[in-house]
């Protein structure tokens, strides 16, 4: 089974580095990390992910902006997006990201993998 390509967009470098290690260690994923919101689209275009894990709160760009930019690209429009957030629950109820699945930090890698696999096309 080919490895699934996961693009992780999150500004916490410590988290993303370990997440990449933990996910790739399973042998089921190729992970690309981008810590800057403004480089998210470029990273997505280059990496062509099977799923995007998007942090809801990134300091340099709002999640809905990143989402809109990605959705505007034909070849990226159908890539499933899984949100994850360290914020309180009510911050997820913003209209632009409404309807997208969201997991709450912190969570174990195994739990995250369950969510990822559920939303992979």
């Amino acid at each position: 089974m080919p490895r699934k390509r996961i693009l992780v967009l999150d500004d916490e470098a410590g988290t993303t580095r370990l997440l990449k290690l933990n996910l790739e260690r399973t042998g089921r994923f190729d992970v690309h990390v981008e810590n800057q919101g403004r480089r998210a689209l470029e990273a997505a275009q280059r990496f062509r992910p099977d799923l995007i894990l998007l942090d809801l709160i990134m300091p340099d760009m709002r999640a809905e902006e990143i989402l809109n930019a990605i959705r505007a690209e034909d070849e990226l429009r159908d890539v499933p997006v899984l949100l994850w957030s360290a914020g309180p629950r009510d911050q997820l109820v913003s209209r632009e990201v409404d309807g997208l699945p969201c997991v709450r930090k912190p969570l174990r890698t195994a739990e995250l993998i369950e969510h990822i696999e559920r939303h992979l096309v």
Binding site: E12, G14, T15, L18, L19, L21, N22, R25, I57, A86, G87, P88, R89, D90, Q91, R104, K105, P106, L107, R108, T109
Partner: protein, 436 residues
Amino acid sequence: MVEPSSTTLPAASVDDLPLDRATEIRLLILEDVATDAELMEAELRRAQLQFTSHRVADRESFQAAVHTFHPDLILADYLLPQFSAPEALGFLRQQELCIPFILVTGTQSEEIAVVCMRAGADDYILKGSLKRLPASVLQALRQREIQREKKRAEDQLRQTNLDLARREQDLQRTLRSLEKSHRELRQTQLQLIQSAKMESVGSLAAGVAHEVKNPLTTLLMGVEYLERHLGTGDPELVSVLRDMDDAVKRANRVILGLLDFSAPGDLALEELQLNDAVDAALGFVRLECAKRRATIARDLAPDLPVLRLDRNKIEQVFVNLFLNAVQAMPDGGTLRMRTEFGRPEACATAHVCGEFPPDEILVIATVEDTGTGIAPQHLHKIFDPFFTTRKTGQATGLGLAVVKKIVELHGGRLGVRNLPECGAQAVVAFTVPEAV
């Protein structure tokens, strides 16, 4: 030399007259012989006393004159054809009138003098020595004036004392009401401080949550990485990693509790049978109860009115109350759960239900344990966020604070107290909405 008529006072003269000189003395003369009266008047006039006189000779005209003529002084013969000086004095005493009274008589008799002086006469003068009359008149008037002054002063003193007593009572009352106000102010101040604290906890919580949860995620991922990377061969390593994992979970629980506590009061209301929420919550804690050898005694009223509640939040309320109850019984016991409904006055838990208007219908849930109860010194703190009696790390101290907030968001009341025998009791009361 003229001997003073009184040993305590010097002989009076016109100058000593305490009255205004221009003031005329109103003189009532009780005398049946007109010339005798004229002699008296002449003597007074000779001493330059200003006076108006009125002569009477019998009881009726004397009594009438006392009330209509308003005499300042009475000169009276001892014996008249139909009246006498002692009778006149008796009348004055009976009327409680304090008019100076000088006996002017033709007969020199010590016996008469003593009788009259005892009856209240001021002086006793012989018609043969009228020279002494003006001085005696002045003396009597002056003495009466002094008596009046003394009485006035006494009255005033009495009045002042009364006023002082009244003022002291007023002050005592004011003091009591000030003390009461002070107590109320302190109470209000404490509540204000408390609510200000809560508000800042609320606004802090959201920011703190985000800033803490990201590093927690890194830590958790790191622990997982180390678990895989270092393997599970070394038991010491395994326990260190487990401790780290627990620490992350603990920190996360605190954050979640804070978020629950500070979350805005949005309720997803639905029509709900309270018993359903209770049963769902009991389901969550059944395992914990079994583990701690706590038996569940469930006594739910079958026909409860339907309420409008947020199912998840109400379940959270009961899960919290059940866990508190179970944890209060480390050696096992009974967790008693009861639901009922009725008017506040019919409610056995008046400390909670008494706060509702008497015409409301209440649905009441009571959770009781047979545990150790709450230490009296802790009772007033149990709803404070972060207050806990359990060991650090075992509890966040937010459970009851969140429970109380949720109940109050639904317009309900929560009361917790110790039971007389043993254990504690939590009472949750909701009003039944009218239109359901």
